[in-house]
């Protein structure tokens, strides 16, 4: 048995030195069983391999160790993983994604967060690249109830996806946006959460995905909290959503009334969305007050309190900047004002500048993507192959839809 292990070590050394990553990957995938049979010798194997030069080999050994049903010494293993991730060669591990990241969620989500952040830094080619580890980081943050570590990654707009030798799956993409949406919902950044859920729902799809279904339910609730109504989905949503997911979500046509919300509380409680539904209720009160601002200039404050059973709600909303009003305690009246913003000051100009700059950057990005596609040999071949103009239009349309998604930011 030992000789088979020795052979494994030699092969790993050889292939790593020659830089033949794909063959190394295959070797590792086949040697899983071999390593599992020789658990006691794994430490010696680890000692024989260098972390920087033979990263993939070390990764395989660590993975097998984690796959054991009960792990005798978690702390040592954990520190080994930490050491590995901080010193491994980024080039190598980009090729293999069967890493032990899922094992870290078992015992200690919080500690896994730091490790995963390092892993993402290693695997990314540039900061706007989405890897499969992003989804796991978001999941760990949710389990640990600590959202700050994931925020720097969530705030960046993703422009690219890390290929990971073909192992990157739609599940990682959907999970990233679903979990990211949940994190933003927890932090009450409802606009960004809505955007993330929308990304998950509008992914081109040919089959129903449970992740999309759950994202759709949360999309409805967050849309209600933010806008008081369910925002219609953009046109590039795939037809799957309309035909299957909306029916299964079983929701919301009468959602704008409080009674309908209370009635559907039980339905949503099954999916553990109760917290969001309660927030919907309180936001409905706020929306009612906001609607009132458009109708009346003065309202007696006691009537306000009576009708909307929201004591001191008005002052809360004024503080949050949701309505513009002043309370006159002497006369017991609340006076509503128009938005005092006249859009004629330098601050507004500065804001417009920022938005224009973003648009210009986006345009440049799109131009470079367009160029990449047009010189892609496969694309050129396809265009030449069939004289059929319709295929060209189809592919170009697909690209335009893709570009539309980014433009609709």
């Amino acid at each position: 048995m030992a000789s088979a292990l020795e052979q494994f070590v030699n092969n790993v050394r050889q292939l790593s030195a020659q830089g033949q990553m794909t063959q190394l990957c295959e070797l590792i995938n086949k040697s899983g069983e071999l390593l599992a049979k020789n658990l006691s010798h794994l430490d010696t194997v680890l000692g024989a391999l260098d972390i920087q030069e033979h990263s993939l080999g070390v990764l395989a050994v660590l993975f097998v160790k984690f796959s054991m049903p009960n792990i005798p010494d978690f702390e040592t293993l954990f520190s080994q993983v930490q050491l590995f991730i901080s010193t491994c060669n980024g080039e190598h591990i980009r090729y293999a994604t069967d890493t032990c990241k899922s094992r870290l969620t078992k015992a200690l989500p919080l500690r896994g967060v730091v490790v995963l952040k390092q892993a993402i830094d290693k695997m990314q080619m540039n900061t706007n690249q989405l890897t499969s580890v992003h989804a796991d980081l978001c999941q760990l943050c949710l389990l640990a109830k600590c959202f700050k570590p994931a925020l720097p990654f969530l705030e960046l707009d993703m422009m690219d996806i890390c290929k990971e030798n073909g192992a990157y799956d739609a599940k990682h993409f959907l999970c990233y946006y679903y979990y990211g949406g949940m994190i933003y919902t927890g932090l009450k950044n409802f606009e960004r959460a809505l955007y993330f859920y929308e990304q998950a729902i509008t992914t081109p799809a040919m089959a129903v995905s449970h992740i999309m279904l759950e994202a759709y339910k949360k999309y409805i609730l967050v849309s209600l909290i933010l806008h008081g109504k369910v925002q219609p989905l953009p046109k590039y949503t795939s037809q799957i959503v309309g035909r299957f997911i909306k029916v299964r979500a079983n929701s919301t046509d009468g959602m704008s009334s409080i009674r309908a919300l209370l009635f559907s509380l039980t339905t949503f409680a099954r999916d553990s969305n109760t917290g969001l539904v309660k927030q919907c209720l309180s936001s409905l009160y706020k929306k009612n007050i906001q609607r009132l601002t458009k109708v009346d200039a003065f309202v007696c404050s006691c009537i306000l309190n009576q009708c909307f059973s929201a004591p001191r709600c008005a002052s809360v909303q004024i503080e949050d900047g949701e309505i513009y009003a002043s309370i006159n305690q002497k006369d017991g009246m609340v006076c509503f004002h128009d938005n005092p913003e006249k859009y004629n000051n330098p601050a507004m100009l500065h804001k417009i500048d920022q938005e224009m700059l973003k648009c210009i950057e986006l345009d440049e990005k799109l131009k470079s993507m367009d160029q990449e596609i047009t010189v892609n040999p496969q694309f050129v071949q396809k265009v030449r192959q069939s004289d059929n103009v319709y295929i060209y239009i189809y592919i170009y349309n697909f690209f335009l839809t893709y570009a539309w998604m980014y433009f609709a930011l």
């Binding site: 004024i318 009003a325 002497k330 330098p346 210009i360």
Partner: protein, 198 residues
Amino acid sequence: MQQLGINMPAAVIMEENFDKLLEQCESQELEAPGGIATPQVYAQLLALYLLHNDMNNGRYLWKRIPQAIKSANPELTSIWAVGQRIWQRDFPGIYTTIAAYQWSENILPVMEALRESTRQRAYSLVAQAYTSIAADDFAAFVGYSVEEAVKGVVSQGWQADPGTRMVMPKKPDPPPVSLVPNEQQLARLTDYVAFLEN
């Protein structure tokens, strides 16, 4: 008697210190062995979140602190009591809860800064939202006695009517905006036109 305006340099230095302290506490929590940090780290982190009015992170911190540490550390529970008052926007409650507990050395400066910042919030909220407010309510908002509160704001230009016991706040001046130099503006406009023409 506190002035409404802040003494700028001291406050800025304090803010930077608290920001650095916050970052340190957060990284300490993430790297703690076993995923559980010491009660001091938790207490400081929670107090700093309250100071920054970051109730979302504060709430989740409270959820992830283990129950054992919560029951063994009454200070932690008192910090959370202050947090609950802030969440419910119960201004008078905030002041009473802060005053009710004997804070340890680490937490005391944070709590005092919290009280001051709550007071500032209350002043600006009243100035923005109310055209007239009863003196008793106003005093409750800022945590002073009625005489002190009225005296403080009258010196800032607000009106007070002892007969009806009403205080008439003055709307605050909008903050000054930084102006962009003209050459830069022109360069930007040129960029926009070039972009739009293409």
